[in-house]
Symmetry: D3
Subunit: 278 residues, 6 copies
């Protein structure tokens, strides 16, 4: 029986077998994130992680104008009022737990063992970078407006952009440029720097492109695909040696899957393999 997904400000649909689309749904506010929305996006990815109907996830934003304009600064208490409380107590008891809860929510995209494709269009500021750098594949529209915006509101990005940008693109000179200046950059620059791996004319075509890639991935062995995401994520943060050792702990179990003979048989007989849910 299919699971139900009821989250304010998120639509979760399954337009096709195995493919979940998560839509940030607060178009009236340019999909800006309230604190609750941040917490909930973690729950959405958590639920999809254990939903055997889901093999691949597409993340998009509702409306024509924005993937997300970032944090909704009216709805989120970024800073305590200085002077009212012992600074150390505010730091330890208020700010840090809130910050860690936000970080933890975003990290669920990384921990979700199923590949997530982010489709960015229009305003894609702040939280857009925090969130999509925790996903696996980023594509965008030609009119996207990207920015690591946090410096413009007086703070260092703290729910993931700074920790993850240095891992997902190659040029540190560029990362420091965009993070220290908060300047807006476009699709062509994002593609050239490797932040996104494809650019499409508009949102409709980008969603179609994401869907096509999702279909391709969903047609593969889910044991192979999910093992691949997990090992790649481990590898980013560990030495080659440690990653090989981790792979040698993981794969000897995973290699016992019936998907391998199924895949090989299909390959030799030029037929389409069928892989059970995972």
């Amino acid at each position: 029986m299919p699971q139900t997904y009821a989250y304010e400000h998120y639509n979760v649909t399954f337009p096709q077998d195995g493919i979940a689309v998560v839509e940030i749904n607060r178009a009236e506010a340019l999909n800006a994130f309230t604190g609750d929305m941040i917490i909930n996006i973690g729950k959405v990815f958590n639920q999809l992680a254990t939903d055997s109907d889901c093999r691949v996830i597409i993340l998009t934003g509702a409306g024509d104008k924005a993937f997300t304009a970032g944090l909704d600064i009216k709805q989120t208490s970024l800073s305590g009022s200085p002077g009212q409380k012992d600074p150390a107590r505010k730091m330890i008891a208020d700010m840090r737990p809130m910050l860690m809860a936000f970080q933890n929510a975003v990290t669920q995209a990384e921990k979700c063992i199923k590949p997530i494709i982010s489709v960015m269009h229009g305003y894609s500021f702040g939280m857009a970078i925090d969130l999509t750098t925790a996903t696996d594949i980023r594509i965008c529209t030609s009119d996207v407006k990207l920015s690591v915006k946090e410096v413009d509101i007086g703070l260092a990005a703290d729910v993931g952009s700074l920790s993850r940008l240095v891992k997902v693109v190659g040029s540190m000179s560029w990362v420091k440029d965009i993070c220290c200046s908060a300047r807006i950059f476009g699709a062509e620059e994002a593609l050239r720097q490797g932040l996104v791996s494809a650019v499409y004319k508009d949102k409709k075509e980008a969603m179609a492109g994401a869907m096509k890639l999702a279909e391709l991935i969903a047609s593969k062995s889910p044991v192979a695909v999910q093992s691949t995401k997990e090992i790649l994520n481990f590898s980013v943060d560990h030495s080659v040696e440690d990653s090989l050792r981790y792979t040698a702990a993981w794969n000897p179990g995973a290699l016992q899957t019936a998907d391998i003979p199924e895949a090989i048989k299909a390959s030799l007989t030029k037929t389409k393999p069928r892989f059970a849910k995972l």
Copy 2:
């Protein structure tokens, strides 16, 4: 007295002073790898590592069609027959030791202290990526067909591609795209993403290009070149601080070489320096 290299399916030649060419030589099967071939490539690099006649290595595949089509799935037991043996025993006693032996063989390319230039042409699937990401410099022909193919046979790449791709190119979005989809990509994309650092028209020109680069490197102080490879490899997997400390352990010994005065003298007198074998 020159060493001899007798390995089934590998030709090792020295077309020029200091330059070894290793040719994967099973063209009749698109240079597909059997288990024995994987073990042996490690031995080849090990022998070259201590052969003082060798300063630089070029790795290529025999024939016109392929660098390598990948693992020979008919000759390699990827998966046990499920149900026949205790899964934990199969994992610990069968699959893991085999996997670690394969990983270890490929890692010899990384451990070999002499620079290795890989020249990929035609089909360059699976093991092609595992193996060449463990080498130092990758170039290819304009018609190369590259793929992290493992997902197509139901498994996560486990002898190095996933652990090393995240270190040798910059765009994680692209790495996840090609690893989860197993799609075939070409020379232009490989160059743009930094997987290769040069593209040549065809195999003949690529080999000529590799040879020219090898000559250049072979003309330098082998103390300097080999120290450079070792320190770069260390740096990839460690913090800047640790790498500097490692360098400060390594170089104070290496700096006592006679190659430095020789190089400086040659530089000042505009002559060609001569460096002894290492």
Copy 3:
């Protein structure tokens, strides 16, 4: 009261509020570095780190011909005379302390919590790469001549290039190519590989471009900018998880700044925010 900067071979000026320009000033020798100059560049960055008049730093080289031609091999004792002293004593008592002192000086660019923009023109060899890879943003002129030159004088680069290049650009094939061959490459290649993030026609335009970027960064909250540099630097060398944890230690203090309400107010009222010195 403004601090004074008196270092032989360095001019430190403040052409604009909050922006320091550090000029390597030994044009008569193509700005080649003596040992003393290396030690002193660390002192310059150290002093700027605690000078509250300084928010952003631009690093450039005097004259038309070179950012720096590298180490002045006539003024620096790279290698002991072999055979004169116990090799282990030379290693531990002479070479290693000197090397670590040089490394430590260059590392001050990284530790200085204010963003540093390097502007390379003309000859930019050896120390040019060591030094600028320890800074944050690299730009260059169209006629720049770049090289990791150390192999040409018989040694592995040891004051930072090898440890940092692998972190600041994406393509390892390219890094190994340039480090093992010591070949000279130009602006277009440096841009494509991400070593620099912008190329300008000549030195004048490059300095104007650097100044414009510096102004932009200097106009932001210094709490936000400096926190961003520190967290990015930490992130490069640590796992995502560790970086998030570090951020969650750092930001709960930094978020108590008055700059956030100031920035938000300015944003809502479309006025220019004013941030106190730090």
Copy 4:
């Protein structure tokens, strides 16, 4: 208003200002853990982490016979029935998520920023070691029977004992002895090896000793105590250098507490300082 704690099989009481006692309360089954109980202990520590009435936590087991006899093997599905399901699917979709949920629950003891004192008596097997090695201070009764019991039921301990024992005691020879043999050992051996830091005659005296230590800790600045636990936990898993850097991110905020002048004043005037809740 005080929080309420309603968890089946856990009593949470506040016998004294600032001191919470968590009692594992399933004495009829020697406090053996069901799967639900494991998940819930994480929730208990999570709630206490943010309860400002709580400064120190004591963890104990109900009844005379056991802190806990370990996992309730009748209530927990340790292993799937072999042969019924694809081994890879069972591994990825069933066993791993369950295992990670258990690990995560136990880790909440470590993440809870308030010190936890474990008081072990009687049977203290399996989960007793998993759980208490994630707490901060371990004491026991003279009749305690300790064992890393997992090998006796055919598995490697996987919710923390193996990962944490190597960090909380010094002798690896002893750790391997007890983990590979699953032998039962007593209070004297646990004390000598540093697993516990105090031994008391019986449960009553051990609880009194724990309470006395808890009172002492609760009388200190909670800013100082909680910062100390967090930095110590970070230090165990990081290099000295990283730990110092983390401390230099954490303390400059924490040092702005009013507790320091309060503590110093009290020290100089020989009075008892009073520190606000955190």
Copy 5:
């Protein structure tokens, strides 16, 4: 069919089902190690690692006088003759490969997935510490004479003692004392510091004690025991977080063993479980 073990200077016997005894057999030279012997000890452990008849290993030295007196300085070329060869070439081409081969041989004790119990008696100098710190459990006789002897012959211990002592005992003050002074210490001190976990009157009793412990471990599920050694070894060198993640990659495969139901059934029926070879 049982494997045969033919190594000069090593006797390998199976006095009991599942228990291999490796005896260093060069009593006429106080079991001092030649270079070949070091290389061979790695081969012995490698062979035992894949011998399904072997579940536990005991390592001992032949004769009454010594476990081993250390490196045989007459048979091993520790240092090149200074001045004869370029110091950098000697370092890179001669000393380092030899040293790494020795390190690698000793590390096979650690990599061998079966527990190794070392029994030290009489002179146990230098290599005795290098080798036994790479094994799992250390016991000794009351008359043992232990020393990290390398400083006495002018070098820092380099095949493992320095790298492993800091991991296998708790007191760094003691480690630095014995390593910098090369002083001889006895059984009582070794036990108190945790270097050994048991002391016996003489070699006969120590071997009996080792045999009894080996029997106990051999009677357990080999899946559980070998998983335990591997996870403990991983944990020593990684953060708790990484170790838990590694465990969650390893155990979901291992938990599918038939040994768990067998162990639980035996536990409930108070019978002796029987576990198949691994």
Copy 6:
């Protein structure tokens, strides 16, 4: 020509060839540390590091009453006056640089490549632990009063105790007990827990014991001793694998010392070896 050491509050003497004694010399204030004194202790160790007359260092405190009573809270500004300055600016511009300067000074004891023996007597609070845990060998008198005192003045120890205690002793339960409670403990407990490796009746005997150990170490090859300290320090913070690799970078240079043939010859001829200064 011998160097001179002129530091207020430190006496540096050479009572014997190769042995430096550093005495904290502010007995009138129980050797409490001012900020300047912390900075200077780093300079003292730095100077000794490069003084070839110094092979071993003993650290002691003047007077009968105290090694050091800790930080002089009247002379050091621990906390800013809350409310007077932007908390983020105080954190980034004031507290963090001061804290890092203090940490850096203490770390010079670790970086100094010559072994340091700390002799603690009487009050040994706070800075006593910070400082001596950065040295190599700790001994004490029977009447020593030790305490990680920082919690008692409202802060977490931040110049090293928390980062280093977890590395220098084995029992984490004990470390957390003493750090969270700030309780005073004595010589017997310090010895049992491995914080010190020897206890002497009084200061005179402790100094005699330290001198004897220093003589023994000073009689060994300084190449061997200093290499040993450096490799041990590296090993504490790195994996076994990394430490072995570091050793294999370091030792091939150090093994070329003339000290090895000298030591071997002396050993064979039963004479006393003589090693040149380093």
